[in-house]
């Protein structure tokens, strides 16, 4: 596996293809969402356009056009098509343009929802899209590909470290009580096993300390490739549990897409 994942150009292409698949899944979700809502929908554009009033009128008119429902759906189809094209080997020559189109379409789609539809998962999508687009614009330039991979690896490490550092300063987190509180905020109804877990203060404390250690120590994953694989495995389980408890399916997939960059960085560091 190291034979391929220490090659920055391969890793960038791998990330682009995986990212395309995830964005295609997200596009299906948006389509279902828009079909459920109907014309007088819950999240009507007319209520969101106030966020755009700071833009000059001609620009606002463009947004008004783009975000009208039939046009917005066309935009989703276009992003889907662009993502699908990146999966076809014969489009290699078009990859820089396709990567740039993926970034622009995704940015426009994210803006529709006050800057983010799904918080952190949209932010990580943008990190990956920018890294892939920058790398593809300088096609076959290994130095730029390396820089893009390091950018993703640092952002992934920061995403865990910052989250852990913010929590570790709070006594309520260290006692496990904060986790108990957040479990109640889930969109899902609490199953019996989760209710039992929330009643057991030892389980809460162990679970909390377990993922706080993981989050704080994650940057060390870059130091050795086999440590890295261990951290990434635990990370995948961590995101899977976040999906099971909080319904964060988009976080699971997008962080998984970013992981090859972390592994590649650890291999590059070893070689250095």
């Amino acid at each position: 596996m190291e034979l391929y994942f220490d090659r920055p150009l391969f890793v960038i292409r791998f990330i682009q293809m995986a990212l395309s698949l995830v964005l295609m899944l997200q596009t299906f979700e948006f389509f279902q969402l828009l079909s459920d809502m109907g014309p007088t929908e819950k999240f009507a554009w007319k209520n969101f356009r106030g966020d755009f009033l700071a833009f000059p009128k001609p620009v606002l008119a463009i947004f008004d056009f783009i975000y009208r429902e039939p046009v917005f759906k066309i935009l989703l189809v276009l992003r889907f098509a662009v993502c699908a094209l990146t999966l076809i080997p014969s489009t290699l020559g078009l990859l820089p343009g396709l990567a740039f189109a993926q970034l622009i379409f995704s940015l426009i789609i994210i803006w529709r929802w006050r800057g983010a539809f799904n918080g952190g998962s949209d932010f990580m999508s943008l990190v990956l899209l920018m890294a892939v687009a920058a790398s593809m614009l300088f096609f076959r330039n290994v130095f730029v590909a390396k820089a893009a991979i390091w950018y993703v690896a640092v952002q992934v490490s920061l995403s865990y470290f910052m989250a852990g550092a913010a929590k570790v300063q709070r006594a309520d987190w260290l006692s496990g009580q904060a986790l108990k509180g957040f479990l109640k905020t889930s969109i899902y109804a609490e199953p019996i096993w989760l209710r039992k877990l929330a009643m057991n203060s030892l389980c809460l404390k162990l679970a909390t300390w377990g993922f706080l250690f993981f989050e704080i120590l994650f940057p060390f994953s870059l130091l050795k490739p086999h440590w890295c694989l261990g951290f990434l495995f635990v990370g995948a389980l961590f995101h899977l549990s976040n999906f099971i408890i909080f319904g964060l399916n988009r976080f699971f997939w997008i962080w998984l897409v970013a992981y090859p960059a972390v592994y590649c960085s650890s291999l590059l560091l070893l070689r250095h």
């Binding site: 459920d36 969101f48 966020d51 006050r114 983010a116 952190g120 309520d172 108990k180 899902y188």
Partner: protein, 150 residues
């Protein structure tokens, strides 16, 4: 007006903060009530806008409903932030977050009033302590005026 400076939010994707679940305090939730007449509404119970759903493994791949609920929750949090920013009620009614929440509630209310040609509704934002220490009680952050829908 702070509530109108939300266009800055559009750019937040470029500066991710990566802080998740760090705010331990009060959690906002949105509730509504609906009635056929203005007098009747005071007697009605409040219902939550976000109803908890059952988890399915398929949601790992395809979760439009769950993600819509998560987005609704984000909108409610943004609205609670705007209320706490201290805008006057008149200013608040012109804020983007107010219009979004008003429309959200209106769409929710319509589900309950398929038969009624005319109805009245009201909504409120409740702040519930995340931790149940010292038996802190939930507080109403805002109770809206009564609106007529048709």
């Amino acid at each position: 007006m702070k509530a109108d400076s939300t266009s800055i939010q559009l750019w937040r994707g470029f500066f991710p903060s990566w802080k998740f679940f760090d705010e331990i305090g009060f959690v906002p939730s949105l509730h509504f009530r609906v009635a056929a007449s203005e007098n009747e509404i005071q007697l009605k119970a409040w219902d939550p806008v976000i109803q908890k759903i059952r988890r399915r493994w398929l949601d790992l791949f395809f979760n439009p409903h769950g993600n819509a609920l998560l987005f609704t929750d984000t909108l409610v949090r943004q609205f609670a932030d705007d209320i706490q920013a201290g805008d006057s009620p008149e200013q608040l009614e012109h804020a983007v977050s107010f219009k979004i929440i008003y429309n959200l509630v209106l769409q929710e209310v319509k589900k309950y009033t398929v038969i009624e040609p005319q109805f009245y509704f009201q909504f409120k934002v409740v702040m519930t302590p995340l931790l149940n220490e010292n038996n802190k009680a939930s507080e109403d952050l805002l109770i809206s005026s009564i609106y007529r829908g048709a």
